[in-house]
Amino acid sequence: MTDYTSLDIVQRSASTEQPPTVRTKTEVAKLIDVSKCIGCKACQSACEEWNDLRDDIGENIGVYDNPQDLSAKSWTLMRFTEYENTGGELEWLIRKDGCMHCSDPGCLKACPSPGAIVQYANGIVDFVEENCIGCGYCVKGCPFNIPRISQEDHKAYKCTLCSDRVAVGQAPACAKTCPTGAIMFGTKEAMIEQADERIIDLKSRGFENAGLYNPAGVGGTHVMYVLHHADNPELYAHLPKNPKISPLVQLWKGGFKIFGLATLAFATIGGFFHYVTAGPDEVPPEEEEEAADAADHHP
């Protein structure tokens, strides 16, 4: 979903070309305040409607989460966790799951298909499905387990942070719909300020470890959470505490790639030299036989 021009792209999967740097854009962010979220799923509904998606109708497996997981047709999902806190009180932690739009995106790094994943100057990470080969590396590369491959067209899909809406100055559909204002959208700077206010309020209500989730391990994210328990993000349906791109991906696209390319190069050059130096000295078996025959037939 790219309604942006190539001038907006600051990173492009599997590409070594220098991206354009003439144009500047302010970084945007979506702030999800879990303490204001009532788990109504209006955001899920808005995302389906805006993006013309219709997921399958599942079944109830004994929880409020529906569908049970993200998919190529459900790009956001409320995940419900019942948590009995240290004071013995019950908390129902409801987190809106979806792409975090990392500054250092693992999906983009892992992707082998040029231009299938792009990052814009405003921070949005978008999939360009027409360039996608459906290999699934992005799923492995994502520290948050977000992208999903479609069974129908074998392309990868995820939240676009409504890049099409943002491109024309509108907020994402989920933010617009959220009835309690739990989802806010604006510049990253403004969202951090918002979050600060909220954290002060939460601390006044006894949540001593309230804080902002904007993990440095992926360079910070353009989807951030205000959490009651920022010291323990894992409580919120396994939100990773210190997310970073898997060292395997780092290595595969980093050291291994260089090593692999070097090996390939060495093998090619080595093979050429071997042929040039040792190749012509080898006598093919047929000529050996011919020579043996000739020797036998000339007394």
């Binding site: 204001k36 109708i57 599942g58 109830n60 019942e82 019950l90 129902w92 309690t180």
Partner: protein
């Protein structure tokens, strides 16, 4: 609501009890979130389940379903014992000082005058002592043993924190913490907003549930205040409109009463409706009843209603029983006494108690007409869907007519919301295929009946032939035409307070209504909604000049565009606001001015000592309600009709002693041995009643019927989350998936741990969701003693693990 949605952002304490505001009203709930974020408000949730509202609350307290009165009477006792009252407010604005006549009393769970056979009270002793001057007597020292304040103290005496634990299963420390927070709003600068809904009304003592919180709010001085009030969160978008226009079987528009057969003449009807003030100089605004009634009669019958025929009083039906509510309707149908039923925009098979009884009754009728935009289970009650509707089609002779109607987006008209705002809306698109607007269908039926009566005569054609039908197109009245009728207009040239109004002109408000036949008005409380200045309901100016959450030019609120009822009570007896921060109106020396339409005579000076509650003959709010409620002038704790526990305070009484229950339904009540668990029913955010199961996106969000049980009950029964379970009561049996949760815990009550089984609505055998059942398959046929609203919020069930239900594909 006495207040309104945006007002909630000014509350300092918000109590959500008897409702689940975040789940049922996610958009309106934003005002609670605002109050927390920008007014440092604290949210308290008291509920049998830890709901999504509880998930954002500061304090959550569990409560056994059906025990709210015990909890709230105990809060009242706490306030009285700890002297946490707004004294000046209570003394000046409530009936605390009124002396009750000798003979009134309460003992062993019953008020004086009870007749067990009739399940009714002779309420003669439930009144004030009247002095020689004809007015109620007071003791302003509040020491007289029969003054309301002393009676209240005595009445709530048994409701200690320990009693709350024993009856409600609510932990004492939580209860006391909540009392502290509530008590903090007894000072003028702090207010509390009570948000409630069906969790209070769907009980056999629903009205008294609400009463018990009203008493608390009066003692705290929170009525008529910014961020205060008793705030009923209505369900359907126009359910407020339904009640305002009197669509209950015993009402006329504007909360007037349909006459009973004991009132055969207009004079006999009006004799009990003079509403003379009970204290000197009080307004007692219902004294104008005859103006509202006669104007209504003129709008109904036009020229045919005259002074000579007493405004066609004889043409109004006279009730031979208190109420022709839905439970009575199906009782009659089962007895073969009601053989036809027009079902307009509801789904009785899934929403009325005891589905088995409903099905049997529908099967006995000659015909049923279903008017609905969507496919309903009711329209298909005769169709076998295997386990989901196990009926013998061949034996059902009922003829079913389906008349497709428009849905709200294809209609023009007004919707009256919880805030009493009448908001006009346009049609977004035309009706599809053969669907027609409800008004067109009703008009069509009416015109055909008129023709038939004209041709064939009949037992009593007069009321039908003489109905006022002034519409341009008789078969298709326009919404604006009806809106104008409802507002009211002058029938001849009249003068009101010196102002001349020409014949045919729209009136400005109910203050211009007369009882001499010169004005017509369809619904007096709506008068002012469509004036000569146009459709006030269509206004969309959201400017809030006072920053009070009051946009007076956004739509139109009844009555008289007043946004906060009883706002005179926001000032002291001298006319100064109790709190400058919460100021709404004030006396400026010559008149009342401020941010809202004053709920008071505009130029009535404070020294006249006219009370703020101008509808009441007392002029003040009622802590004790005289004979106005069938089941008592104070709320008393009664157990639900099916309860896991006997009434500790009145062990011989089952349910509400004044609730009506038909013999065959009494026989179908279950006991706690066969059915040990307390079920409750409720709604989910993802769905609206039985509509949205037809919508794909909603079906994705919540696809299948489930019941919720605690981890403890699940362990006892060997149930694991996602298992199929069977839940049954004395009336029916259903199957569902099990959601096993920490959010429901066994309640430690007197008789031992009480397990709650939660059963949501929304699923049936039509629609896009997986087929399912409704809680009404299980619930008893008994309702509130005053309103006959069925008891859907607590009854007894049993539960076990089982196999999946087997449906039957239907073409």
């Amino acid at each position: 609501m006495t207040n309104h949605w945006a007002d909630i952002k000014f509350a300092d304490v918000i109590v959500v009890m008897g409702g689940n505001a975040a789940e049922a009203h996610p958009c309106g709930f934003k005002w609670v979130v605002e109050a927390k974020a920008h007014n440092n408000a604290r949210l308290i949730v008291i509920d049998p389940r830890f709901t999504r509202t509880a998930s954002v609350a500061d304090v959550y307290c569990p409560i056994r379903p059906g025990t709210d009165i015990a909890f709230l009477n105990a809060v009242t006792k706490y306030l009285l014992d700890n002297d946490k009252l707004h004294h000046e407010y209570v003394n000046a604005y409530t009936n605390c000082a009124f002396i009750v006549k000798e003979g009134y009393g309460f003992a062993d769970g019953l008020f004086t005058g009870y007749d067990e056979a009739l399940r009714d009270y002779d309420k003669a002793t439930w009144d004030y002592e009247i002095g020689p001057d004809g007015y109620a007597m007071l003791d302003t020292t509040l020491q007289h043993p029969r003054c309301v304040m002393q009676l209240l103290r005595k009445h709530v005496e048994p409701y200690t924190p320990e009693m709350v634990e024993r009856i409600c299963g609510s932990p004492k420390d939580k209860f006391l913490k909540i009392c502290e927070m509530i008590a903090s709003t007894c000072v003028p600068d702090r207010t509390m907003s009570s948000l409630y809904a069906l969790g209070w009304t769907h009980h056999s003592k629903g009205s008294q549930n609400i009463r018990s919180m009203t008493i608390v709010q009066m003692l705290l001085g929170n009525i008529g205040m910014l961020g205060g009030g008793m705030n009923a969160l209505r369900g359907h978008s126009n359910i407020q409109g339904l009640t305002d226009l009197g669509l209950m079987s015993n009402l006329l528009p504007g909360y007037m009463n349909l006459p009973t057969e004991n009132e055969p003449t207009y004079d006999s009807y009006m004799r009990t409706r003079h509403f003379r003030p009970l204290r000197p100089g009080q307004t007692s605004y219902w004294q104008n009843y005859s103006k509202f009634f006669v104007s209504f009669a003129k709008s109904m019958w036009g020229k045919a209603a005259t002074a000579e025929n007493h405004w066609a009083y004889d043409w109004l039906p006279k009730l031979d029983v208190a109420n022709y509510d839905v439970m009575r309707a199906f009782e009659l149908a089962l007895d073969g006494k009601m053989t036809g039923y027009i079902i307009q925009g509801f789904n009785p098979l899934m929403t009325f108690p005891n589905r088995g009884k409903v099905n049997a009754a529908l099967s006995k009728m000659k015909f049923v007409v279903v008017m609905d935009p969507l496919q309903t289970e009711t329209a298909r009650f005769w169709q076998n869907h295997g386990d989901y509707n196990d009926v013998d089609t061949a034996s059902i002779q009922t003829e079913v007519f389906e008349l497709p109607t428009t849905c709200f987006a294809e209609d023009e008209g007004s919707l009256s919301n919880s805030s009493r705002w009448l908001q006009w809306h346009e049609a977004a698109q035309p009706a599809p295929a053969e669907a027609r607007a409800d008004m067109e269908i009703m008009a069509g039926l009416h015109r055909r009946l008129v023709d038939l009566y004209k041709k064939e005569g009949g037992a009593f054609p007069d009321p039908i032939l003489n109905v006022n039908w002034p519409y341009e197109l008789a078969e298709s009245p326009r919404p604006d035409e009806v809106a104008r009728e409802i507002n009211g207009y002058a029938l001849t040239d009249i003068t009101v307070d010196g102002t001349p109004i020409a014949a045919g002109r729209q009136l400005e408000g109910f203050g211009q209504l007369k009882d001499d036949g010169t004005t017509a008005c369809g619904c007096w409380v709506y008068s002012g909604c469509f004036t000569e200045r146009g459709n006030q309901m269509a206004r969309r100016d959201n400017t809030d000049p006072g920053d009070r959450g009051i946009a007076a030019n956004w739509a139109w609120a009844w009555p008289a565009n007043r946004r906060i009822l009883y706002n005179r009570a926001s000032c002291d007896p001298q006319g100064r606001p109790w709190s400058e921060r919460k100021k709404l109106i004030e006396w400026n020396g010559a008149k009342w001015v401020g941010f809202d339409v004053p709920d008071y005579g505009l130029t009535v000076s404070p020294d006249k000592e006219v009370g703020p509650f101008i509808l009441n003959p007392e002029g003040v709010a009622r802590l004790w309600t005289r004979a106005l409620m069938r089941d008592g002038p104070f709320p008393a704790h009664y157990e639900p009709f099916e309860s896991p526990q006997t009434n500790i305070l009145a062990p011989k009484i089952q349910g509400n002693p004044a609730s009506r229950i038909f013999k065959r339904d009494l026989a179908q009540l279950g006991n706690s041995k066969d059915f040990p668990y307390a079920a409750t029913s409720y709604r989910l955010t993802e769905h609206f009643h039985f509509w949205t199961k037809h919508a794909r996106v909603n079906a994705i969000l919540q696809p299948e019927f489930f019941v919720e049980i605690s981890e403890q009950l699940a362990a006892e029964k060997g149930i694991v989350k996602g298992d199929w379970v069977r839940v049954w009561s004395a009336r029916g049996s259903i199957k569902a998936k099990a959601v096993v949760t920490k959010r429901i815990k066994p309640l430690m009550c007197e008789g031992g741990p009480v397990h709650v089984v939660g059963i949501p609505h929304h699923f049936g055998f039509t629609g896009t969701t997986k087929p399912g059942f409704g809680p009404n398959s299980l619930t008893p046929v008994v309702g509130d003693a005053n309103t006959e609203t069925p008891e859907f919020k607590v009854w007894l069930v049993n539960i076990e693990r089982t196999t999946a239900p087997v449906g039957k594909p239907v073409a």
